[in-house]
Symmetry: none
């Protein structure tokens, strides 16, 4: 990892005096558009608490991966956690499994799966099996779960929404990555799975997955329309140096969605439960204040509103965060960063490459003398545009955790 | 060295038409704080000359090393001189020796030293020997200097302030780096010195240093409380490609403090003497105008004021620079950069990671249409935030010293 050694050598052997909090408003970044009177949701929202905080903070914008790259939630968050998202990749199967609440263990091989329809010759005629209902999906997954084990490998099946599910292969000394069985087009047969790199472990994995396929297709034989399934993004869970190991910080995640909780747990953060929405998340932070050095608080609503193209809703989630912010600020962290993992512009209804704004506040942060936390103001901040993976370093510097480099 | 080859291949074979001047106000960067009415010293200072210059200059902010890294003076200046501070490191012993005015030669091994107190069993009971006076320090160093040579290696001892001094080992085909003899804690004996990498030269160095230790401890035997000493940061002076070699510029340093003068000399700059403070430094530049292409002028007062937490003093040094600036501008350099090696915020009383602002002026610099040179204005500048090591390249580009890259 680039520069890792330098930062590590300068890490002072102590815990921070106060708390370090990363507050992620998922997909917060946005762009102006004619539908919203040329305002972004951050600009349109009434945010008296954030405005006050902005005045004594510094700002900038984050490049989650590289210019023009639209990140998925996995790499975007790994960047915020200080991992280079190009060096530390979590396969899609694993991300999907975490999203469905499966507690992945190192070496687990996870695969994204979806039911499909095949004809009598095994040719795919509908890659999504007519988008069957989630109820039918559940029933079919239960059926597939009759396959509990193949040789030494445990099989774990978890239904998602509509035609989507996840298969996890656990144990038996197997390793990925494996190729997709999905030809990504109709009119072709289900593809044979191959190892991406041939080794004893990947060859063993291929054999297990293919045996699973045979048994599973038999179980689905009489079903209509979901008489087949496709696997994608098949890989083992990488062994990632944990966050507490790398940064010497005891860390907790306060998230309501399984994916973010799962990803944070994968890198060694302790998951704290919370109810009652944003208010409950901030209250959980206060409640657990003494037990951790670092808190990752994840707010999902901004991203959902962005994906739905719902401007008013995105504004409303921001205002809700602002309303409950005093709970967090009353038990003030020493260092607070507020940002998004990426942008999810309302007008695009999707993740985008636009750099999310970031606000950083601490007693030694200084101030950029900007009156509000918005995308445009963030352009004028002293942090400039920088890669997400450096945010944790700035937060740790603000917490006084690094020694001077050289005399 | 990264990008070195490209820049070198584009360097036009000529000397600049005018002069290139790097004016360093040490530790100039600052942050707002409630103690100073939310103004930084640059904002609070009355600087009519700088203001005028700002209007026809471009601005930005510098990252001395990496985000969140607080640099020492050595790496911070090496960056401004165009060296990658991670690739070109000067050990602490060498920096300390330069600071005490020792003219280091390549291959010299320098060590930071401090007197300590040991008990009859050789256990350290006070790592700083009760912080003895500088006068006693001088006397003790004189005594130790009785050891003039060990085998082929010359011994040079230079007292600093209080309990601190420097030992330089010159000649005899020796090499560092060596481990510290300082256990960094009391209640333990002085540590045996070892090579960090074993080789004929480092093993020879260890033998010389240990022989020196034996003789020196005998000389101190009857002293109280300073009957021992500890060595740290023991390394040879790296062979650095000189500044005139790398950039094809005849360079001079006008600095009042030995460390900066020494570091500049180490990379091949000619040291010019100057008296009468900042006025004298600018006059020396005018006086030596014809003899050099590049001048590094180092103003120390801003850093001292920052370290002392003295806001008024920092403002006053900036105003003094402003007052005498016409001397420099009357004999105008073709390219002038004004910046700090790092920030030394008054409210932190120490070096910090905050990016110092930089101003660049030349007939071809363009203007960012900013009315003053301040941290906040620098955020709006066209130079953005960039690594210090690229500043020399921008200055040389402004001096017309680089050919076009590609057709």
């Amino acid at each position: 990892m680039e520069h890792e050694h330098l930062y590590r050598s300068l890490r002072l052997p102590k815990r921070p005096k106060g708390k370090i909090v990363l507050l992620v408003l998922d997909g917060i970044g946005d762009i102006t558009s004619s539908c919203s009177k040329q305002l972004t949701p951050l600009e349109a929202a009434r945010t008296p608490q954030l405005d006050e905080l902005a005045k004594t903070s510094v700002m900038g914008r984050l490049t989650p991966v590289l210019p023009g790259i639209t990140p998925g939630s996995g790499p975007a968050h790994l960047g915020l956690f200080g991992y280079d998202p190009l060096e530390t990749q979590v396969a899609r199967g694993a991300i999907e499994a975490l999203g469905l609440g499966i507690e992945l263990q190192p070496k687990d091989i996870a695969a994204r799966a979806n039911f499909c329809s095949i004809d009598t010759k095994g040719i795919i005629i509908d890659r999504r099996a007519g988008r069957i209902t989630s109820e039918l999906n559940k029933l079919l997954c239960k059926k597939l779960q009759l396959i509990e084990k193949i040789q030494e490998t445990e099989i774990i099946i978890q239904p998602g929404t509509s035609h989507r599910f996840v298969v996890v292969f656990r144990g038996g000394n197997i390793e990925g990555p494996l190729s997709d069985s999905d030809p990504h087009t109709e009119g072709e047969p289900i593809r044979k799975i191959k190892p991406k790199f041939s080794s004893i472990k990947t060859n063993r994995a291929v054999s297990i997955v293919n045996q699973f396929y045979q048994k599973a297709l038999l179980l689905l034989q009489e079903e209509r329309p979901a008489n087949g399934f496709l696997l994608r993004g098949i890989s083992h869970t990488p062994k990632i140096p944990t966050f507490p190991e790398r940064f010497e910080l005891e860390a907790a995640v306060i998230a309501t969605y399984p994916m973010y909780k799962g990803l944070a747990k994968l890198i060694g953060m302790k998951a704290l439960e919370s109810n009652h929405g944003i208010e409950g998340q901030f209250k959980q932070y206060v409640h657990s204040f003494d037990a951790f050095d670092y808190f990752f608080i994840h707010i999902k609503g901004t991203d959902i509103a962005g994906e739905d193209g719902n401007f008013e809703q995105k504004v409303s989630v921001i205002e809700e965060v602002d309303k409950f912010l005093p709970i967090l600020l009353k038990k003030a962290p020493q260092v607070l960063a507020i940002t998004g993992d990426h942008s999810t512009p309302v007008s695009l209804k999707a993740h985008s490459w636009h750099p999310p704004p970031v606000l950083l506040h601490s007693p030694s942060s200084g101030s950029d003398k900007l009156s509000r936390f918005t995308e445009i103001n963030a352009n004028y901040g002293s942090l400039g545009i920088f890669q997400s993976k450096f945010l944790i370093r700035l937060m740790m510097a603000n917490a006084g955790l690094y020694d001077k480099f050289g005399a």
